[in-house]
């Protein structure tokens, strides 16, 4: 048996063990009160879950072994990996495919399951029954077993031969193994893609815990004491999922070129929706713990969160999105299986909820405006409405599929301008979240009446109005875009949310009460909202086409022309900057800066190697000498663009990168970003002359010259300095009797720059050959065509091509750092809350604050 068979066997064992474990735990809990589970059934369930976990880890080791060992006889390795991939990106290969990402998710469930077996005590049997039931479905997705004509799951251990049996090569050679894989999607070759997916799937996995507790509570009739553990796990899940989402946003900002961090793509929305509902659920749970109200809401939202995670899985993995998303997974034909998974849990959990609904305690207390609970409750409702809006729009492809199922053809499409559509509604979600978080936080820590409320609210409210007016005035003075009403609303409420939470935090610290995780994360959210408003609402295109040169004047007033052409070494003025594109660069491992392509002579037949044409040094240190062979990463070309601030004279350099990739189709451009404290300058190339296309050279013009003669080329002149025996440096592969002569020509380019050109004339095995040399900067190619030794005359052929250029888009993103720092604070706030709730499990938040102290202060 080889590694793939072992892996496949592991999947089958994991599946069977999950079935046994689910059964064992179910029987242990069935018909018995909480904490009185049947010991022998529970032992079976536990043992089976441990077997399941060990098998899953074995499967992961096997799959990683296949990728790491470049075993391209396996389809998964061939389609997701390649020989030149560094190890840390092999980890990303692991979860690039559907099967691997399922495995990752399963793996987190296993770890959390182990934790619960150790610590859940009386909850173990019913909670783990839910866990094992989920694992049963998830492992079935990667089972890869045929039941009659029905395919159950898609195995990652499938061989190339099994996946593509019709390849002609297998007729000639049944044992054919590809030499190299097709590689990891280059957009995923980014360190965020090593850490973002595991974080996100951990967040997904964590939503299962509160769900399992809720189901266990409903099942066993323990309708209140599941809240305690559920809060802690929801806090962990909410924090990790939130940070995971923002990691994805940061990756998109850094790697993709749509000019932002959030594109409202269905795949992004599919994670955003459950996160909003999870946060709403968390607030409802806290309401029950503090005010003995909102338990039905808490139950519904905890259940809804998990069901929405399943719905997200269905959306992104079943192929239902089709053309609607640029980055959903490939369709593995699992849609039926995914739908059964989704429906099973919808029916099961909603059934349980309905069965127990009447018994779930409700509060008799009528909430007034002075109760923070009321505002928290409204806040949770607003979050749900926000989630609902995204859900309704994102599901448009599902409606088409649904009515199509009944034979009706629907031509409904996602909104043409998705960003405008979502922004116009989600902006108000932000307004209310900021406002309500401020109000609720101010009321939360004290008993309220008219007097205390006006005392607590006055300072933040006045500061908010002052701050907002100041910003509005500043924008009016300096901005080219006036603030619209929704923007003013978001700014004002964002500031209020920030200041209210900060003032509460200061008071709490002064009173010597513990730090409030809630206040910290709400500060983070408020900062994020202000950061989004500034960076997205006031993102400014620097690269306006101001040349006045337009192809057509039709519609010219209403359209933005956001891309400019930069000729190599020609400075162009854009806004306050002067931009110069100065050439193409490569990444050379071991050298801390990018290396000019003109310094690198390509090696025939190995694009991963090059020969240095001159010294490669950074600062004082020389990394390679002329003639050294070095390693390069040929995938990415970096376009060096120099920015000069025309006012201050300060300069900086950006290296936006592009990858010509046949398989992904064309040019993949990634931006480079210059960070300033108050804004980012973000720029990417939108088009370059196709690097895979042969350049169009003019017919060679011949010059017959002697040494030290001058050649007058079109725009430049050159001096033929010398002719010498060529060294073997340029990878000529010369044998003993071969002759090679290289000319040394100095071309005087723009701004006094000089270029040494070395065309080679060689006689190899009695055959005459010529190796041209090129000055990319000038679009010039020179060959040494002939040598007349009697006369001392040399014939050079000079041809020209269009000068190199890039088409560039550049923009300014004001105050984007508020978004990222807000994200960190939000995560930190979640962390503080988790730690605090872990330390004092019975902490009743409000009652701990000495009310008298507050009174005294007010008086």
């Amino acid at each position: 048996m080889n590694i793939g068979d072992w892996g496949h066997l592991g999947v089958i064992v994991a599946f069977v063990a999950a079935v046994v474990s689910a059964l064992g735990y179910f029987m242990a809990a069935r018909g018995r009160a909480l904490g009185e589970a049947d010991a022998s059934w529970q032992r079976l369930g536990r043992g089976a879950f441990i077997v399941h976990g060990v098998a899953v880890i074995g499967v992961i080791v096997a799959l990683f072994g296949i990728i790491h060992g470049h075993r391209y006889e396996y389809y998964y390795a061939w389609s997701h990996s390649s020989n030149h991939l560094p190890v840390y990106y092999m980890i990303s290969c692991f979860w690039e495919g559907q099967e691997g990402s399922f495995l990752l998710w399963i793996f987190w469930h296993v770890l959390i399951g182990f934790w619960l077996i150790r610590g859940a005590k009386q909850w173990e049997a019913p909670v783990m029954a839910v866990f094992a039931f989920v694992q049963l479905f998830l492992t079935s997705m990667i089972l890869g077993v045929m039941l009659g004509s029905l395919k159950l799951g898609s195995s990652p251990f499938i061989l190339m031969k099994e996946f593509m049996p019709d390849l002609p090569v297998y007729k000639l050679n049944p044992d054919f193994v590809p030499q190299d894989g097709t590689g990891l999607n280059p957009l995923l070759q980014n360190y965020w893609m090593v850490i973002h997916p595991p974080t996100l799937f951990l967040g997904f996995a964590l939503t299962l815990v509160p769900f399992a507790y809720a189901i266990a509570g409903l099942w066993k009739g323990q309708l209140t004491n599941w809240v305690q553990p559920a809060i802690r796990w929801s806090l962990v899940g909410g924090g990790i999922l939130g940070v995971g989402i923002m990691m994805g946003a940061y990756w998109a900002y850094e790697t993709l070129n749509f000019g932002g961090y959030w594109n409202w793509d269905p795949v992004e929305n599919a994670v955003y929706i459950p996160w909003l509902v999870l946060v709403a659920a968390l607030h409802a749970l806290v309401l029950w713990q503090r005010g003995k109200t909102g338990l039905r809401t808490a139950f519904s939202l905890v259940v809804a969160t998990f069901l929405l995670v399943l719905y997200a899985t269905f959306l992104t993995r079943s192929g239902v999105l089709g053309n609607a998303s640029v980055h959903s997974f490939t369709d593995l034909g699992l849609s039926g299986q995914l739908l059964i998974y989704l429906l099973a849990f919808v029916v099961l959990s909603i059934g349980l909820l309905v069965w127990r609904w009447k018994q779930i305690p409700v509060s008799e207390k009528e909430l007034t405006m002075y109760h923070p609970e009321l505002w928290v409750f409204i806040g949770a409702t607003v979050l749900c409405l926000g989630a609902f809006q995204v859900l309704v729009t994102t599901s448009i492809p599902v409606y088409n599929a649904l009515v199509g199922f009944f034979g009706v053809k629907s031509n409904l499409a996602l909104p043409a301008d998705q960003i405008a559509h979502y922004t116009k509604i989600q902006l108000w979600l932000g307004v209310f979240v900021a406002l309500l978080s401020g109000i609720a936080q101010l009321l939360w820590w004290q008993r309220n009446d008219k007097e205390t409320v006006s005392a607590t609210f006055t300072i933040p409210a006045i500061l908010t109005l002052l701050g907002a007016s100041l910003v509005i005035l500043l924008v009016r003075q300096n901005g080219d875009k006036q603030m619209s009403l929704p923007y003013i609303a978001l700014l004002t409420t964002g500031l209020f949310g920030l200041l209210a939470n900060v003032s509460m935090l200061i008071q709490l610290v002064r009173r010597g009460v513990r730090l409030s995780g809630g206040a910290v994360s709400h500060i983070g959210i408020a900062l994020m909202l202000i950061g989004i408003l500034a960076s997205a609402g006031y993102s400014k295109i620097i690269s306006q086409n101001t040349s006045g040169l337009l192809y057509s004047r039709e519609f010219s007033e209403e359209l933005n022309r956001d891309n400019v052409l930069l000729w190599r070494n020609d400075a162009a003025k854009m806004g306050k900057y002067e931009l110069t594109y100065t050439g193409q660069y490569f990444d050379v491992p071991g050298v801390p800066e990018y290396v000019n392509k003109e310094l690198l002579f390509p090696v025939a037949n190995d694009e991963y190697k090059a020969i240095a044409r001159g010294e490669i040094k950074v600062g004082e240190k020389t990394y390679y000498k002329s003639g050294d062979t070095l390693e390069v990463r040929p995938e990415d070309t970096y376009y060096r663009v120099n920015y000069k601030d025309t006012k201050t004279g300060k300069e900086f350099v950006l290296f936006p990168r592009a990858q010509a990739n046949e398989e992904m189709g064309g040019l993949l451009a990634s931006p480079d970003i210059k960070l300033f404290w108050d804004h980012d300058v973000y720029s990417h190339v939108s088009s370059v002359p196709d690097p895979n296309k042969e350049k169009d050279w003019s017919e060679a013009k011949q010059f017959v010259v002697a040494m030290n003669d001058t050649l007058f080329l079109n725009d430049y002149f050159a001096v033929f300095k010398n002719a010498e025996a060529a060294h073997n440096t340029a990878g000529l592969g010369l044998a003993k009797d071969d002759i090679a002569v290289q000319g040394d020509i100095i071309v005087y380019g723009e701004k006094g720059r000089q270029y040494h050109v070395h065309p080679v004339f060689l006689v190899k095995n009695g055959m005459v050959g010529r190796v041209a040399d090129e000055v990319e900067d000038l679009g010039l190619r020179i060959t040494l065509d002939n040598i007349d030794p009697q006369q001392g005359k040399f014939t050079f052929g000079v041809s020209t091509t269009q000068k190199d250029y890039v088409i560039l888009k550049a923009m300014e993103k004001p105050f984007i750092n508020l978004l990222w720092s807000g994200t960190l604070l939000m995560g930190l706030g979640f962390g503080i809350a988790v730690v605090q709730r872990g330390r004092k499990p019975k902490a009743a938040p409000a009652a701990k604050v000495p009310l008298g102290a507050k009174r005294a202060q007010v008086a």
Binding site: N323, T330, Q389, L412, A416, R561, N563
Partner: protein
């Protein structure tokens, strides 16, 4: 009426308006003929059109023009929709680099003065997963 009931009514009202806002913003897949009719009626709503690029006998794409050295923000091409109607499309952005290879093109935008002004182009390229050729597979080892 209790406050919770009031809140519930407000929530339902907002939910309904959200659905209506989505319905009014949702776009549709149409043919060029329908897009022209919409524009003639003064409806400037942006629509989706699915089509293919016309090729001549030598398999070159017909009617495509992009000249970055003149205007990097002007790209025009012809598109044949599912009803075999050909229409000129203008895109005020650089040409997507993989444009020529795409099997199917989805554009969003609307008809204006007899040209379709696209603001988004979605390309469907030959599946990179299944039809990808295996390197070295043609050479028997």
């Amino acid at each position: 009426m209790k406050k919770t009931h009031l809140l519930a009514l407000v929530v339902i009202a907002i939910a309904i308006s959200v659905v209506m806002a989505t319905a009014s913003d949702a776009s549709v897949y149409v043919s060029f003929g329908e897009a022209k009719e919409l524009a003639a009626d003064g409806d400037l709503r942006k629509v989706h059109v699915v089509g293919r690029l016309p090729h001549d006998a030598q398999k070159n794409i017909v009617g495509m023009q992009y000249n970055p050295t003149v205007d990097p923000n002007y790209f025009t091409f012809m598109l044949v929709d599912t009803n075999k109607v050909q229409q000129q499309v203008v895109y005020f952005n650089p040409k997507p680099q993989d444009f020529e290879k795409s099997e199917q093109v989805v554009i969003t935008g609307n008809m204006r003065n007899n040209v379709f002004v696209a603001d988004k182009i979605l390309l469907k390229c030959p599946s990179k997963y299944v039809e990808k050729d295996v390197k070295g597979a043609t050479a028997a080892r």
